[in-house]
């Protein structure tokens, strides 16, 4: 009997353990990886490696292909695609991308469509709900409806066919490393998923707005103080476009109602925590300002640095073009790159394109709201979120005339609907932009290709071998009346929102200026003469550095441009430090404090890895900010607020040291800028004395490049590299130049490029983080166009894709 019981008990334990190790059951709601599956060397993680001796030549056939395609991987894992048509090349793009980045494609698609919880469990439920609440999926569906009847949609379908040619044919046990950990199978790709990724990029780059913060601050501070602290324009900025001549007869008039804003605080609501750090540089120098008398183009987009890298690099050859560049996974075409004739790249536009409107409910159940005096019913859409290891979660998304309701208030009176330009883009065959750019030969081609781009709006930099340099804002920009979209507006009148888009030929645009160069770095794109209301979140210092450096030389070489991309000079520190030091003259410092001041006095304003001054300045400035804006930060835990821009703080310190905001709330005496600067200095010294001594910059603010799932072991931590948020080499602890490209155009382009990652998304590949070390030192890889594949110095792997029957 005892033996029987023991047998049954052991059987039960074995079955439960097997199910647990197979991922069928979990304990304490923990989604642990299925260890049995993972550690089985015949089917688990041990099947994810990269063979030393891979087959040199693989051949496959596919019915979507019209002529044989050859793909050669070089010694960095960069695929060189040789196709007889752009259609076949895009098919091959999908194929190589799925081969190298399947998990990243799937993960990004899930992040775009509120489906992360399906593989990660409850931990991402909040993120998924927010994504769905912002109407990302319905916006993608709307965009697909629009795009599928337009030219270029077939490229998204061919890309998907190429990706699926790989995904469907590989054996089940070759799922990506992460997919095995999360115990799921990568789905097939589709054209719709490409559109979802486009939505994701729009959300990432332009999905923010300061409307709520501005409304709160307007209510708290009053109009006069608000205008004083948050002026619309920084007079020191060098706008991208100056003196753009727009025919006054062709200027459109915004017909939306001016200033129907909500002056009210959105108390007890913490709605959003926007990303900070996104930014980019690009510039193009005319031949006359270069040593070799050939135009030079430079691009370095600063984005969240991740592993696998956001960028995937490739070279494409068709009878019409030979092009090299990078792309975001899941989208056909190349977003930044060069061919024999042109080079191009983008920087993000700070101009505001997201507005919030209060909803005036008519019934208690929130089914009807007021619009132009009528009761209008909300449209409800049920979204089901699958959650790993748990019941599905069902969410109802409310759609209004403006867009989805994204913010629900506690009192029901401050529910906000979001109008986002990406949700009502004008019909344009947008998918063609990055395809046609690959084939562009002249400025007119660039204008034609970028004219189709809807969003997220970007400053498209351009240079051609015929010595044209230009930047145009491409993307739909709302036509606004003055102040429209700056604050939360009342949602009871249709006329409160923009209804038209600025004609593309009136978007900010500059070509071959007398200065001999064009440059953008997320500053205002247009100057004060631009006829349309233009505002948003702009970068204020990199543009001044770039403008200064680009003016200073007239014989630029590619090496100089490389050095400039890596330049860690802070115009902010240069602008502010002399004023800070003036205030320090009056103060008596003790022996402990003096060395800290000496560090700043002898500083050259470069954020080098060894700079101790940079570490001290950052802390000092942070203290000045905290001590100055205490009147605002007291509301921080109760509502969304923002602080005045750094340039405004600098301006007040330099020009209005007796500004009332320098007076500290908690002290009885009346402080001015000088007292705040000195107190902040002493506080900074105290901080470093209490937290170990003053560290070098790279040590005090190391950079981390996280894996998409933030697994430390698959990330690259504590990278030492120079730069700061306001430097041309714009780096923070998680943001930085995600791709550096420099191109000298001429008879034959000379180009270099690098990104802080590698071509492969597989953590077990030697190409997982190939570029990080060189990138951190400011070095590059040579990028040569190999029209004949025989000239590729090292071919590590080749794939041939043939049409069926050949």
């Amino acid at each position: 009997m005892l033996q029987k019981i023991s047998f049954l008990l052991l059987s039960l334990i074995t079955v439960v353990l097997t199910l647990f190790l197979n991922g069928n059951i979990s304990f304490f709601q923990q989604n642990l990886p299925p260890a049995g599956k993972l550690l089985n060397p015949f089917g688990g993680l041990w099947q994810c490696g990269e063979l030393k001796n891979t087959a040199q030549e693989e051949v496959l056939t596919n019915k979507a292909v019209t002529a044989p395609i050859k793909i050669h991987y070089d010694d960095r894992g960069v695929p060189h695609i040789y196709a007889q048509s752009m259609e076949d090349a895009i098919f091959a793009q999908g194929y190589v991308e799925a081969r190298d980045r399947a998990f990243q494609m799937d993960f990004t698609m899930r992040a775009s469509s509120g489906r992360l919880s399906e593989i990660l469990g409850e931990v991402t439920l909040g993120m998924d709900r927010r994504t769905l609440q912002r109407g990302m999926v319905s916006a993608a569906e709307k965009a697909e409806e629009m795009l599928k009847d337009l030219e270029g949609f077939h490229y998204a379908e061919l890309f998907a066919a190429g990706a699926n040619a790989y995904l469907n044919e590989r054996p089940e046990n070759t799922q990506p490393f992460e997919a095995k950990f999360l115990d799921y199978t990568i789905e097939d790709w589709s054209a719709f998923k490409t559109i979802l990724i486009r939505m994701y990029m729009s959300e990432y780059l332009n999905g923010y707005s300061d409307d709520i913060e501005n409304s709160n601050l307007l209510a708290i501070l009053g109009r006069e103080t608000f205008d004083d602290l948050f002026p619309l324009e920084n007079p020191s900025t060098v706008p991208i476009v100056r003196n753009q001549g727009i025919d006054s007869d062709s200027i459109l008039k915004a017909d939306n109602v001016k200033n129907d804003i909500v002056i009210d605080t959105f108390l007890d609501q913490i709605y959003q925590d926007p990303l900070d750090g996104i930014g980019s540089n690009n510039w193009a120098i005319n031949a006359k300002k270069t040593k070799n008398k050939r135009p030079i183009y430079s691009s370095d987009p600063h984005l969240t640095l991740n592993l696998p890298s956001i960028w995937y690099e490739m070279q494409i050859h068709t009878p019409k073009t030979s092009v090299h560049g990078v792309k975001i996974v899941g989208v056909p075409g190349l977003m930044m790159g060069f061919n024999e004739h042109v080079a191009w790249g983008e920087t993000n536009l700070g101009h505001d394109q997201t507005d919030y409107f209060t909803i005036e409910w008519i019934d208690r159940n929130k089914g009807l709201y007021r619009l132009d005096g009528e009761a209008v019913a909300v449209e409800k859409r049920i979204e089901t979120i699958k959650v790993k290891g748990q019941e599905d979660v069902v969410d109802t998304i409310y759609y209004t005339h403006w867009g989805p309701i994204t913010h629900w208030s506690n009192d029901g009176k401050h529910d906000l609907a979001m109008k986002w330009i990406i949700q009502d883009g004008t019909p344009k065959p947008e998918l063609l932009t990055f395809i046609e750019m690959m084939e562009a030969k002249h400025f007119e081609d660039y204008k034609e290709a970028t004219g189709k781009f809807i969003g997220p709006p970007q400053n498209f930099g351009f240079a051609s071998s015929t010595d044209t340099v230009a930047i145009r804002v491409n993307g739909d920009l709302p036509l606004r009346s003055e102040e429209d979209g700056r604050f939360v507006e009342k949602g009871d009148k249709r006329a409160n929102a923009w209804s038209e888009i600025i004609p593309r030929d009136q978007n900010p645009f500059i070509i071959n200026p007398d200065d001999g160069f064009v440059t953008s770095s997320n500053q205002r794109s247009a100057d004060e003469h631009y006829p349309y209301f233009y505002f948003g979140r702009f970068s204020d210092y990199r543009n001044r550095s770039l403008d200064t450096f680009l003016r200073a030389k007239s014989d630029y070489t590619l090496e100089d441009v490389a050095k400039l991309q890596y330049n860690s000079f802070s115009f902010l520190a240069y602008d502010l430090c002399p004023s800070l030091l003036d205030f320090m003259v009056e103060v008596e410092l003790n022996e402990e404090e003096k060395p800290f001041l000496d560090v700043i006095v002898s500083w050259d304003y470069y954020y080098t890895e060894e700079s101790k001054a940079a570490s001290f300045f950052e802390r000092w400035l942070r203290n000045i900010r905290n001590n100055t804006w205490d009147e605002i930060s007291q509301y921080r835990n109760r509502m969304d607020i923002r602080y005045p821009d750094t340039w405004r703080l600098v301006d007040l310190i330099k020009n209005r040291p007796d500004h009332p905001f320098f007076d500290h709330l908690s002290s009885e005496e009346k402080e001015d800028a000088g007292m705040i600067v000195r107190k902040s200095f002493k506080d900074a010294v105290k901080y470093f004395k209490q937290n170990g001594d003053l560290q070098e910059w790279a040590e005090s603010k190391p950079m981390n490049i996280y894996h998409l799932m933030r697994i430390p072991g698959l990330s690259e931590m504590n990278i030492s590299t120079p730069g700061c948020k306001n430097c041309i080499n714009a780096t923070t602890s998680t943001f930085g130049p995600s791709w550096r490209m420099i191109v000298e155009l001429g008879e034959k382009p000379i180009a270099k490029g690098i990104f802080p990652g590698g071509q492969s998304g597989n953590p077990a590949s030697k190409w997982y983080k190939t570029g990080i070390e060189k990138w951190s030192r400011g070095e590059y890889f040579d990028l040569n166009l190999y029209k004949d594949s025989k000239n590729i110095p090292v071919i590590t792997k080749s794939v041939e894709i043939k049409p069926v029957g050949q």
């Binding site: 029987k4 334990i13 197979n22 599956k37 550690l39 490696g49 001796n53 072991g713 030697k766």
Partner: protein, 122 residues
């Protein structure tokens, strides 16, 4: 000794063949069946199954890693924050061994239960 070595190698060969196509938990079943058929002593059944399966998994992982540009054990080590590759290779050894061992033990237990029943029915 030969009595022990035969099921040991038989189990290893069976697992090696079956795992090319079947799921990992096949190791529980193969050990169960082999020990039910030919290993009467429970302690022997557990030890044979444990080492046969565990060593197969360990050796396979090690040999497969030898053909890779970066060994999986190294990548897995980074994920679980272990610098020791020995610890990483012990993971498939212990897990494979344990599940094989349990299967073998159960097979042997059932064998003695069945034998007892047939003896008592005589």
């Amino acid at each position: 000794m030969r009595k022990l070595l035969f099921p040991f190698f038989l189990l290893a060969i069976l697992n090696l063949a079956l795992l090319q196509a079947l799921d990992w938990w096949t190791i529980v079943l193969t050990a169960f069946i082999v020990c039910f058929i030919m290993v009467p002593k429970k302690s022997h059944a557990f030890i044979i199954s444990f080492f046969s399966t565990g060593l197969l998994w360990l050796l396979a992982a090690y040999i497969i890693d030898g053909g890779y540009t970066i060994p999986i054990a190294q990548v897995l080590g980074r994920v679980v924050q272990s610098e020791s590759l020995v610890i990483i290779y012990m993971m498939p050894f212990i897990l494979g061994g344990l599940m094989g061992g349990l299967g073998g033990l159960l097979g042997s237990q059932l064998r003695s239960l069945v034998n007892k029943k047939s003896t008592s029915s005589l």
